[in-house]
């Protein structure tokens, strides 16, 4: 009997170039064009409000005039006076970014987000489902274009370093695969500045000994570099120059819970006052949820009594929420349901768990679901004028109490 060799059940070999770097092209500016299609084809610059602003994102039409990210706005205006300058709209960028991330996560859970518009993927395990890494890269580019409405560039390589540099080279709207045996040919002509950890000063130091390209660096003995740059830095850079980079793709772990608690200076026993504290905590939890882009399915109230007994009560909601008023309604109900009557409370806490990304939202038929819009407006006011700049009316009382207590003490 001869046993079958290479049967289809054999595990697929790990591809030699399993790492993808996906980078959305001129992301903020592209989203602005999606929001207002009349901007298409015109130079668009996001950021740069005020005399000291800097460019956060520039469309390729603006780049043609020499406008670059992080450039002072004043200079950008001089280079391209006809550009449309817009303030950033992070809510819109985050919404598009969530969809972008969903597309990536549908390929593999091994997605490491770097920014709203950039992520690494390790597709070693996705071959059976989606094919070889270059096929996956092409699929991602198609889906991002179709579903996010933004173009992107993808670099494919044996590791993060090569993938990242490949996507940069592929820009705009391109795909570049650097095979393991092409790494040297790809890296060596690049300036040393292309490598992580080589800033202006390191580049100058290296230039003094004639090391200008990655190839120069790879050919320089580590011992020589160590004298110039210090032991650790020299070794790290030399490894990179050889195209070695073993940092794994580390998926982002979403937070498991968001909670706030407060220990009171003196124990509280007045239910109304405690519910007011619960309202403040509920709003803080809700604001955090909104900021991080999550909604909570389950809410937990924690009450520590003067004698250090801790009571906790939880409830799972029919639909996840990030609205302070809704959180408070549940928390207050849980508080009222605690056994016993009057109690002296030392600490109150509100925790949100069962977090789901806020990108998807179950819409409601009935109005009165508008609280979220009100609270979002509060978020914006707080961002601009600081915490407590606008409050639910019930909390004004609390602030006055506090002030009174403090001045009375």
């Amino acid at each position: 009997m001869v046993s079958a060799v290479g049967s289809p059940r054999m595990p697929r070999p790990r591809p030699a170039e399993p790492i993808l770097h996906v980078d959305l092209d001129a992301f903020y500016a592209s989203v602005e064009v999606l929001k207002d299609p009349s901007l298409a084809g015109r130079p668009v610059v996001v950021g740069g409000a005020g005399p000291r602003g800097v460019v956060m994102s520039a469309s390729y039409e603006a780049r043609a005039y020499g406008v670059r990210n992080a450039m002072p706005a004043v200079r950008a205006r001089r280079l391209c006076p006809d550009a449309v300058f817009l303030p950033p709209d992070f809510e819109a960028y985050r919404a598009h970014s969530n969809r972008f991330r969903e597309i990536l996560l549908a390929v593999t859970p091994l997605v490491e987000p770097i920014a709203l518009d950039e992520a690494f993927l390790d597709v070693s395990g996705a071959g059976l489902l989606f094919g070889e890494p270059p096929e996956i890269a092409a699929k991602i580019r198609r889906e991002v274009a179709a579903e996010v409405g933004v173009r992107c560039s993808v670099g494919v390589g044996p590791n993060k370093l090569v993938a990242k540099l490949a996507s940069k080279r592929a820009k705009p709207d391109g795909l570049l695969v650097v095979r393991a045996d092409e790494v040297d040919a790809f890296l060596h002509p690049l300036s040393v500045r292309a490598l992580w950890g080589v800033g202006e000063r390191t580049a100058e130091t290296l230039a003094r000994v004639g090391v200008r390209t990655v190839g120069d660096l790879a050919r320089t003995p580590v011992r020589v570099l160590e004298r110039l740059l210090g032991e650790q830095h020299a070794r790290d850079l030399h490894e990179l120059a050889l195209g070695h980079d073993d940092r794994p793709v580390t998926p982002y772990e979403p937070p498991r819970s968001i909670s706030h608690e407060e220990t009171f200076e003196t124990d509280l026993d007045d239910t109304e006052e405690l519910l007011r504290e619960a309202l403040a905590l509920s709003h803080r939890v809700a604001a955090r949820l909104r900021e991080d882009g999550y909604r909570a399915r389950t809410l937990t109230l924690k009450v520590r009594l003067a004698n250090f007994t801790t009571l906790t009560r939880s409830r799972t909601l029919p639909a996840p929420t990030d609205v302070g008023a809704e959180i408070h309604a549940v928390v207050a109900d849980l508080y009222r349901g605690l056994p016993g009557g009057r109690r002296r409370v030392r600490l109150l806490g509100v925790a949100a768990t069962g977090l789901v990304p806020a990108g998807e939202e179950q819409l409601a038929l009935l109005r009165g679901e508008r609280r979220r819009d009100v609270e979002r407006a509060l978020d914006r006011i707080e961002r601009r004028f600081g915490r407590g700049a606008a409050l639910p009316a019930a909390l004004l009382e609390r602030r006055r109490d506090r002030a009174g207590r403090r001045s009375g003490a």
């Binding site: 598009h96 969530n98 969903e102 409405g149 029919p318 639909a319 549940v330 179950q362 819409l363 038929l365």
Partner: protein
């Protein structure tokens, strides 16, 4: 009080009134079943948890009239376990004696004077076919809210007009409306707790034929099925104006096998869990369902159907869709959609049922 009866008659009667027994034993009298025997009128059993009360009269041989409040659960369990032989029941002083075959037991009574008085239904009832009533309640009940924070939505609106009865329930994410043709004595509106109405519907469903008599009063609603009367307090408050939520006709309409669509939603929905919706892509071939969840995987299934309208993608909570598909009647259903932000409408083969379901907004703006 003294009577004699068949074991099955008593056992079934006790189980029928069990749904009115309070599950929270804060008031001991509410854990009891009030038994009143009167020569010529038979035995009347009453239970209440202050929200819902159930009363049932059965024929027994009464030899001595009287009233006793007996612990309901214990009595029900006892009678259920007796051998199949005539039961003799006798209550006086502080206890009830039960004899059946060789068994003899004595149960301590609860103070009957603590049992609340229950208003018998009054006024002109609306008479409905028991089967139709049971079906109608089952169609809308799923859409009622379970969220005690919004009491009005935990009820079912009964709206009575000259044309008949309309049952409406909404948890603000979906809305179910069922219309029944009936001759009504007048106009009335009441919000009945979903639990009470579903109990009445279960009692009605047990009858093969027959009628349900519905009494709507100022603060209570009663449902009479056979010898059983279920009375419920009403929920106070203003029910949302559902008529203004019902959309005008839509241009995009899918006509599809109810079973096929429901099976596909269930299968594809397995990978949606509670966190993500099922996407429905409508096109000339029918509808393509898909779902994905980052930590579970993804699924896709196409269902062939007739679709009139423009290509659209709308996402829904799969359970909400399934509830609507289960409630609609007939082999085929129509699913009408407007866009990703407007409610979808499910209708069965009959025009008397409408189910609205709000979509889940997807983060990508429709390009």
């Amino acid at each position: 009080m003294k009577f004699r009866c068949d074991r099955d008659v008593l056992s079934e009667a006790l189980q029928a009134v069990q749904r009115g027994v309070s599950s929270r034993p804060g008031i001991p009298a509410l854990t009891g079943v009030l038994m009143r025997a009167e020569a010529g009128e038979g035995l009347t059993l009453t239970t209440t948890d202050l929200e819902v009360s159930v009363r049932l009269t059965v024929e027994v041989q009464v030899t001595e009239g009287g009233t006793a409040l007996v612990p309901a659960r214990l009595l029900t369990e006892t009678v259920k376990s007796l051998s199949d032989a005539p039961v003799e029941f006798e209550a006086d002083g502080g206890q009830a004696r039960i004899r059946c075959a060789a068994y003899e037991g004595a149960l301590r009574l609860l103070p009957a004077e603590d049992f609340p008085a229950i208003q018998p239904p009054s006024g002109m009832p609306i008479v409905l076919s028991a089967g139709v009533f049971a079906e109608a309640v089952a169609q809308v009940a799923k859409a009622a809210s379970r969220d005690e924070a919004r009491p009005v939505l935990t009820g079912i609106l009964l709206e009575i007009s000259r044309e008949g009865v309309t049952l409406v329930a909404t948890d603000s994410y979906r809305l179910a409306v069922r219309e029944l043709v009936a001759t009504a004595p007048g106009e009335a509106r009441a919000i009945v707790p979903e639990r009470a109405l579903s109990e009445a519907a279960r009692a009605a469903a047990a009858l093969e034929k027959g009628e349900v008599r519905v009494f709507l009063e100022e603060s209570q609603a009663s449902f009479q099925v056979d010898g059983l009367t279920l009375t419920s307090r009403l929920i106070e408050g203003e029910f949302p104006n559902y008529r203004q939520l019902l959309p005008e006709a839509y241009e995009n309409r899918l006509t599809v096998s109810r079973q096929q669509l429901a099976d596909a939603v269930r299968r594809v929905g397995l990978l949606a869990r509670d966190t993500s919706p099922v996407r429905l892509e409508f096109n000339a071939l029918g509808v393509k369902l898909s779902s994905q969840s980052p930590d579970l995987g993804q699924a896709v299934e196409a269902v062939e159907a007739r679709y009139e309208g423009e290509d659209l993608t709308v996402a829904f909570n799969p359970q909400y869709l399934l509830d609507g598909l289960a409630a609609a009647s007939g082999e085929t259903v129509r699913l009408e959609v407007r866009d990703g932000l407007k409610p979808g409408v499910i209708r069965g083969e009959s025009e008397d049922f409408t189910y609205l379901v709000m979509p889940v907004r997807l983060p990508t703006p429709v390009a």
